[in-house]
Each structure stands twice: as structure tokens, then as C-alpha cells.
Symmetry: C2
Subunit: 419 residues, 2 copies
């Protein structure tokens, strides 16, 4: 089957509109086993294109081993490795189960996940909960008693309060929160400070109800919601997954619907090219590291929070978040220049997600693989940086590798013909 | 007595440091009669240099008449005018009673006021409460049953809840809130959206306590706090008053410590020149009006919220608040240019109040009358615009008139000698 440029444009318009029209609404927080498609008790989900167990290395491998222990699938590190070696503990990629992983992105059956419905298309997207401010986290490749305790705390103490508030509310629409947060210094990937405050304010009437039963738990939940810049990221990730998935599988579209990486490299999915991942080497990074850390420590252990960039947030809205200079380096002008450049590789401007510093221009939305190849402008993403010994050691900006796009172009031409 | 340029520089450094070192803390909300210096039951405070009753005109006159009725000093408009004519109802300027007025700035004895202590210098600053989202407000020269009811609602329903929460807290430091809000799209004059959310979050633990007694009142208070962009302005005004007053009366200083206007014109006070107001004509304005209103309707009825600009906020931090383009006109670049220009007339950069879009440069702080005269750059201020029939009809940017500064220079030279 051969397709014309006109047919591709029309398919891309359809895919782009699915992104722009999405109405993600937080409906519930449920355990992964109860809501993630295909989730089973023996399954651990991790970021990026799924690989065989023996191909996972470094922090991502450690995170999988930690996840098995956390879930009680193994009593210790050794039995976890044995279970993974034997295939008694299975591994799969988050994206194929409706969710997205932050860094290593470990999901196990009992973990609570945010359930977002895209009310326009009717599909669901999921993300698990932020582990808290300590840089040593399971999703950064660390597992010890402290990580276990903090995860347990979030899952058993924080999540139930927020879950109950969300249920009492009947659902919290996320698009209005994201839209406002873009006017308040957030880009919804490496900074979601305002979004968390607005979200907390939306929950307030229901939190007061819950406080009648357990005031202390409500205090703790509000602290978890607002103590740093990352809690709401999980909501913007799940919203972005529910948004991008609605634009996936549009026949003939060359628009990117997912960007993700594992410990081996970067990868993209394309709307009209099914569930195949087009892989390439690791992204290049401009990092700013926390005091006491060096460039040599930077490692890769996976990441799918780049789903936010896929729908026009994060690096694609970085001129909305100048405070990130302090966190991930650069200057306001560099952020503007980088943001402006991304209009060259996108299909349109998001009508809802607007950037005040760019005179309210809509964020560049919907990456076209052909535009990336033609312009040589690579998607820019804001990410947290893990260290080889585990934990977060900084933040920075990465660029997707060209190889993913050239491979996707080949597959596109193979499937749809040259034009 | 003659002073050298070195002595003036040293005095200005002292005054500027008082601004930068101030630590405004919200300690309480009390009735004006109980806390405002020199407040009496028959007194109405209004914005700008105080005048004889017969000199007040238009909306400011209407606001004074409305204030007399609201306070019960008169049963109706006619008896209020008679009382004012006879001097039974007295008028004075807000600034001389420790407070600052928003627009017409009406204070009467029973009104609750925010009590801010500058913990560095130990002085107090006050401001009364935001009347709510309806553009018809007493401070915009309107008084009718609706205005009366909304004022009564704020005073008897909203203020007591916030007052109790503040007392339970032991005091809410405002500088950290203002500092964070500048990274979240606020300039703390025409936009205080993030500040209100952060403030609400700070009050949250105490609001939950109060909700045990009266949940509905807490819901209403939180709505008042967060429903638009103006609630926190009264806190930033009071904080700015407590800040600027600490820098007032520094012998030899040519730094502006207040900018204010009444219905007749604009005026400034200067640190080393006592309580004299140096007056000029009305400020010039670039306004953006709400739908259905025209430039011909623009009128002046006083205003002292320009105290925020006096300490380096508002128009002096406008590049922190690009969303204001939508509200008061202009472009992001115009806001940057205007903000940058103001560094030419200020004594230094505020170490705490930083502007992310200017690569975290501190806001231009401490206006020097000599720099204004030398550079011909006039202070720029973000203000709400009243209409001649009362009510808010838009927002915009005003420039102080040069005449205030030339008069102040004359007085300075007369007092301290030429150099």
C-alpha cells in the first residue's frame, strides 16, 4: 500500500487532534493488579522497550531486583535474582500495560496507581506514585530498608487519603490544572510545583471530610503533595499517556506517540507503525549535578516520563518554567531558544497548553519523524539524572538520537511506500 | 546643613538595606479601631496625600461617603455628606495610620485589617481585606446593598476564619511566600495567584482544626483566598508597607519610601524628607479594559498598592509575571524591556526577590529620586483601572509623573544643600 503526502498529512492531523482534544481526568487510585491491563502477581514492569532479563544492567537491573523483593516475590536479593533467572518472576515494559515509568519505572502488583481516563477517547492511562523527596528511590535503582519503608509509607498512608479524596470528588480534570500550571512556572516534567498546589486546592473540600476521621493522615498526604516539585509529575505522566495513546494507531500517521528508554538505549513509537519500538543509542545529555557528584557518575536506568514531551509538555514547554535554570542549568534565553526550535519538528501548537513567555503561543505539539529528519532538530527532554550507585544526582536536558527517527522512516516507507 | 554625595550614598545604602532585610510576618487580623495608630470611630482613611473633604471628587468621594454609611456613621448618603460637611465624620490618609489603601482605600473603625510585623525593624504595617471578585467594590467607588453585603461577608465570615488560622499558626512569614511566588508567575501587585495558593497551603493545618467546628466557613474562606488573582495583594501591600516604613526617615536618604495617589494627582515620599508628600499630576496610563468599556471611562480615585513597586515588586518585577499580558496588555518582551529599564533608577537588586526570566537577577529595588531625574526613566506600576461610574473596568501600567521627583529634589537640596 502506498500513501500520498496528502494522506500522511491527513493522518497526522487526526493524530495531532487526538492529542489536543484529550480530556484526562483523574478518576481513582487503585492497585496495579486490579487495573493495569495484563498485570499479574508475578510480573514486574519496567521502563523502555522490554528486553530479556539478562540484558538489564546497572541501576535498572537493581530496581527490578528491588521490585521483586518489595512485592514479596523473593525474600532477599539472591532469591530475587534466582527467580528472575528462572523466569518465575517475569518482566515486561510499562507502555504495553497502559502505564509509564519514571526512571527505572518499577511497577509491582500491589502498588497503587493513578487511574486517568481520557474522556474524549474513552481510553485509560496509569502511573504509580512519587516515592518522596529522598534521592534514594526504587525508581532510581536503589532498594534497601529506607526505600522499602518510604514506598510502604506512600502506598499505605499517602495514597489511600488521596484516593478517597479523588473518589469523593467524582474525578479531578487534569487539563485545567496543567493549563494553569504552565502560567505558573511549571513545564509539568521536571517542575510541577504549581500544579501540585492547584491539585491540592481542588482536593481541599474532600480532604476536610477525610480529616474528620484521620487528621494526621490528611496532614501527611498534603505534605507529600506539596513538599517538593515532583508529586504531580506522576499525574502529568499518566495524563500524557492517556493523551498519547488516543493518538496511537492512526493509520498513515508519522507522529511520535511515545519516547522511552531503558538501560541500553533510547526508543520511539510512531502512531502509524504499531507497537514496534525504533531504537537508538542513549540520548545525549546536558546535566547539572547536585553538589558532590561528577559527570562520570551519570548512568542510564530507563525512563518514560518523556511521555510529557510527546504531548507538548516538559522540554517542549520549557519556556514556561524558567526556574528550572537553577535545577538543570542554562539561561532563560537558552530555554526560549530551545523551545522555539522545537516548533520546527512538530505538527502544530497546542491550543490549551500555552506559554506566557512566548506571548501565549501554544506549545509545540506532536513530533513528526519526517520533520525531525528534515530539520535535524532532535526532541529535547527535561529529565532527572541517576548516578551509577543509585539515587538521583542531578537533572538536565537530553536529546533523542537521530537513529530512532531514521529507523522509523525506513519502517514507514516499507509499510506505506515512498512518496 | 550640607551633605556630600558620599553621605547620601551611605544614607541610601542604609535605607535600601532596611528594605532588603525586612522580614514581614502576618501576625493577626484585627479590627482597624484596635490596632491602627490614631484610628478613631469617626475617622475614615482614604488613599493618597490627605485633603480637605471638599477637595475629594468622583469615585474617591463616593467611596468615602459609602464608607461612612457602611460604618453606620450615617444612615444614608445625604446624612453621610452632611456629616462630612460638618466635620463630624473625619478623613485622613491611610499612610499616616500605618496602612495602605487599595484604590480609594477606605478604612473604617470596624473593618478587619491584616497585621504584619517587620521582625527585623519591629515596626508594623496593615492592610484591609480584599472585597472579592465582583468588580463593583467600595474601594472602586461603589456603595450599594451588594457592596455592603459583600463587605459584611468578608468581614464577618471570611476574615474570622483566616484570623483564627493565623493565630493558631503563631504567624505566617510572608517573605518566603513572596519569594516563591515570584518564581510562579506573580509580581505580587496585579497578580498574586501563586502566593495565595502557597499561603492557603501554609494555613492548611490550622484550617483543618477550624473545620472541626465550622466546615462550611472554612470552605468559604478557602474559596475567597483562591478564587481569583487578588486576595494575597492585601498581604503583599501590608508587607510592603511594613518594609518601606522601616526605610523611612533615614537622614540624608533620597530613596522613595511611598508612592500614592488620590483623585487629584500622584505623590511620593522620600526617606530623608520626612512625611511631606511631593505631588504631581496624575500618572500616565497604558490600560487594557474589560469588554464593553472605553478609555473615556478611565478615572482616578486614589491608590496606594504602588507600595509594592516601592520595595521592588509589582511593575518592578513584572518580568516574573508574563501572564499579566493577557490582563493588562503588552508582550513578554515589552515586560522584560520595561523591567530592565527600572534598574537605572534603583539603588540595588533585591537579594531575595529574584526574577527567573532575567536569569534570577534580583528585582530593581529602592527608587532614588536623583536617578529618576538623571535618567528620565519614570517608575512603572501595575494597577487596576477604575471607571467613572465606579467599579473596576480594566488594568494597566502607569508611570509616575516627573514633577514629584523634581519637587522632591528641590526639597532635598533645600534641606541638605547642593553637591
Amino acid at each position: 500500500m502506498a500513501t500520498s503526502s496528502i494522506k500522511r498529512d491527513s493522518a497526522n492531523l487526526e493524530a495531532w487532534q487526538q492529542i489536543c482534544r484529550a480530556e484526562p481526568v483523574l478518576k481513582d487510585i487503585r492497585n496495579a493488579i486490579d487495573v493495569l491491563p495484563g498485570m499479574t502477581p508475578d510480573l514486574i514492569l519496567t521502563s523502555g522497550p522490554p528486553m530479556k532479563w539478562e540484558d538489564y544492567a546497572g541501576g535498572q537491573r537493581e530496581a527490578i531486583i528491588g521490585g521483586a523483593q518489595f512485592e514479596g516475590l523473593a525474600q532477599n536479593r539472591e532469591t530475587a535474582i534466582a527467580g528472575l533467572d528462572a523466569g518465575d518472576i517475569r518482566i515486561d515494559g510499562c507502555h504495553d500495560h497502559g502505564c509509564v515509568g519514571s526512571l527505572a519505572g518499577i511497577y509491582t502488583a500491589s502498588m497503587p496507581v493513578l487511574l486517568i481516563e481520557n474522556e474524549t477517547a474513552g481510553n485509560l492511562g496509569f502511573c504509580n506514585m512519587y516515592e518522596g523527596t529522598n534521592p534514594r528511590r526504587l525508581n532510581y535503582g536503589v532498594y534497601d530498608q529506607g526505600v522499602h519503608d518510604r514506598l510502604t509509607y506512600v502506598n499505605t498512608r499517602v495514597s489511600p487519603v488521596i484516593a478517597e479524596a479523588v473518589r469523593l470528588s467524582g474525578g479531578i480534570p487534569l487539563k485545567p490544572i496543567i493549563r494553569r500550571a504552565l502560567h505558573m512556572g511549571d513545564e509539568l516534567h521536571s517542575r510541577s510545583t504549581a500544579a501540585a498546589l492547584i491539585f491540592t486546592r481542588e482536593l481541599f473540600p474532600y480532604l476536610i471530610e477525610i480529616a474528620e476521621k484521620d487528621k494526621q493522615a490528611v496532614h501527611e498526604a498534603v505534605t507529600a503533595l506539596t513538599e517538593d516539585h515532583y508529586f504531580f509529575l506522576r499525574l502529568s505522566m499518566a495524563a500524557a499517556k492517556a493523551t498519547a495513546d488516543a493518538a496511537h494507531h492512526v493509520e498513515g500517521s508519522s507522529m511520535v506517540t511515545a519516547m522511552a528508554f531503558n538501560c541500553r538505549g533510547f526508543a520511539i513509537r510512531v502512531s502509524g507503525l504499531g507497537d514496534q519500538w525504533f531504537t537508538g543509542p542513549h540520548a545525549t545529555v546536558e546535566a547539572q549535578l547536585f553538589d558532590g557528584h561528577t559527570q562520570e557518575e551519570i548512568t542510564w536506568m530507563g525512563g518514560e516520563s518523556t511521555i510529557t514531551e510527546t504531548i507538548g509538555l516538559g522540554g517542549f514547554a520549557q519556556a514556561a518554567a524558567f526556574p528550572l535554570q537553577r535545577y538543570q542549568g542554562g539561561s532563560a534565553q537558552a530555554m526560549i531558544d530551545r523551545n522555539m526550535e522545537l516548533y520546527n519538528i512538530t505538527l502544530g501548537e497546542n491550543p490549551d497548553y500555552q506559554i506566557p513567555a512566548l506571548d501565549y503561543r501554544g506549545s509545540p505539539t506532536g513530533i513528526d519523524i519526517f520533520k525531525v529528519i528534515d530539520t535535524k532538530v532532535l526532541p529535547a527532554m527535561d529529565i532527572g539524572i541517576p548516578g551509577r550507585d543509585g539515587g538521583q544526582i542531578g537533572a538536565g536536558i537530553v536529546r533523542a538520537p537521530m537513529e530512532c527517527f531514521t529507523k522509523a522512516r525506513e519502517a514507514y516507507i516499507q509499510r506505506y511506500g515512498a512518496f
